[in-house]
Amino acid sequence: MAEVLVLVDHTEGEVKKVTAELLTFARRLGEPAAVFLGSGFDAAKESLAQYGATKTYVADGADLSSYLVAPAAEVLAKLVAEASPAAVLLASGAEGKEIAGRLAVKTGSGVLTDATDVTADGGSITAEQPVFGGSTVVRSTVTTGTPIITVRPNSVAAEAADGSADRVDVSIELSEAAKGARITDRVVEEKGERPELSEAAIVVSGGRGVGSGENFAVIEALADSLGAAVGASRAATDAGWYPHQHQVGQTGKTVSPQLYVAAGISGAIQHRAGMQTSKTIVAINKDPEAPIFELVDFGVVGDLHQVVPALTEKVKARKG
């Protein structure tokens, strides 16, 4: 069975949830082989083995993490040439998509991004992608080269499987071209207690109805009671109430959590484009005509400043 390469998404060996999901998809297509770049493999090995990685290609070295995107594409291109995998799977974040794009150019392969399902039918691999903000579902195949597919977090429930994730060292001499953009600083602007927006199982978002930056504390409190990430509509980030990296929608992030809670968000098409593939949607809005109510599984017409804090207290009480 041909290998399926899975690029491990990690921070210093702390593996992100999406990697287990990618390995789950990879097992449908062939023999999952993880690709680990940078330092921290020893910390990551167990969680890769747990989801069925049969081996792990490890490329370590300062250069790999000192330069933006291009080195990862170079390592993967080398592995594609040597291992002739059936496919390469990456996480559909900004970086995963950029690596996929460069890898596609390098290897002369087609690339599909933002897949929410990946299936094998005979010899061909089909990716399902929601497009136009989730209003249309497209099924595509790669017709040239090695299928390179980026997959959205939360697209599948990760299933454990036995693997050894044995280390296979990859030596690589980066080209000069891959060393063009040097990362000289990494700045974390907020504390990392909450889950990351793009891969959170629950997202609580606030919009225009929140009213001010200070009032976002009620959104954060509900998020914390649920163990959720915090999102914001464009109206809220435009007003400067919440940082831009939390923006959900057309020009921000696309999320598809198990539960999406929209508080004080009317649900304009721009916002819906970023969240309407969420499994369960809940909204609180004082306008009964707000378009968000067309999407909800459960909606409350009311003042979020009353309902949200009350809900937070009840959730806390219930969780004890």
Partner: protein, 261 residues
């Protein structure tokens, strides 16, 4: 500092987008075309860099005849001239083909210190063309910039937006830079700007001018294929209650029934 800004014409984000049954490409006739919003930030950033360091701003747009409107808009904001990559054979091009045609056009025109783009288009939303262009041109990739700093003497650095903050990324020009929303406040074209834009030179490149084989672009040259598509199933109408003091209780009950709490 000579800058080329790639702009794309897209359907207005407020209009409903559909695929054409005939060839599974975006039905552009059914929507109102506008300049991709993220590209307006790229044009603005280019104009600001020009104000600081001099040089010329060239607009590069690949698209059908109707994309002339987007080219004119960029020129009316203040860019100096434009290149329109226009060829029937480009219809249905994927990101790989688009980056190929754009890279050939950039090489043909030549002499740029910076290639600027928006970090994604609002129709395809792949965010891969800037990285692909950097790969094809062999230039440093400085993407998802929320701030660009150039000294005008060859050093350039950006703050790259990340999930929890930003990275500082440095390179030497020439380089490819993509920008995110909110990096600046794009200017509105003035009346004077609109009048001046009508006289600014727009050069048209076809596939032959670029030395690109028609088989490598368009629907025919795509390396992936849409096998089928359909409208997503509509969501089942849910329960909506009006809060009369019990809204939070009912909401909690619902969340508990779904095992979220």
């Amino acid at each position: 500092m000579n800058i080329v800004v790639c702009v794309k014409q897209v359907p207005d984000t407020w209009s409903e987008k559909k695929l054409a049954a005939s060839d599974s490409t975006l039905d552009r006739a059914a929507t109102d075309p506008v300049m991709n919003e993220m590209d307006e930030y790229a044009v603005e950033e280019a104009l600001k860099l020009q104000e600081a360091h001099g040089g010329e701003v060239t607009i590069l747009c690949m698209g059908p005849d109707a994309a002339t409107e987007t080219v004119r808009k960029a020129l009316s904001m203040g860019a100096d001239k434009a290149i329109h990559v226009l060829d029937e054979g480009l219809h249905g091009s994927d990101a790989l083909a688009t980056s190929l045609a754009l890279s050939k056009a950039i090489s043909k025109a030549g002499g740029f210190d910076l290639v600027l783009l928006g970090s994604e288009s609002s129709d395809a939303r792949m965010s891969v063309v800037p990285a692909m262009l950097a790969e094809r041109l062999g230039l440093p990739q400085l993407t998802f910039a929320k701030e660009v700093t150039a000294d005008g003497a060859g050093a350039i650095s950006i703050k790259r937006l990340t999930d929890d903050g930003y990275q500082v990324v440095e390179a030497s020009t020439p380089a490819v830079v993509s920008v995110v929303e909110k990096i600046n406040e794009p200017r509105y074209p003035s009346f004077k700007g609109i009048m001046a834009a009508k006289k600014k030179p727009v050069e048209t490149y076809g596939l032959a001018d670029l030395g690109v084989d028609a088989g490598d672009v368009g629907t025919a040259g795509a390396w992936s294929k849409v096998e089928s598509f359909e409208a997503a199933p509509p969501r089942q109408a849910g329960t909506v209650v009006t809060d009369e003091g019990e809204g939070a209780d009912k909401l909690l009950e619902f969340l508990a029934s779904k095992k979220f709490v």
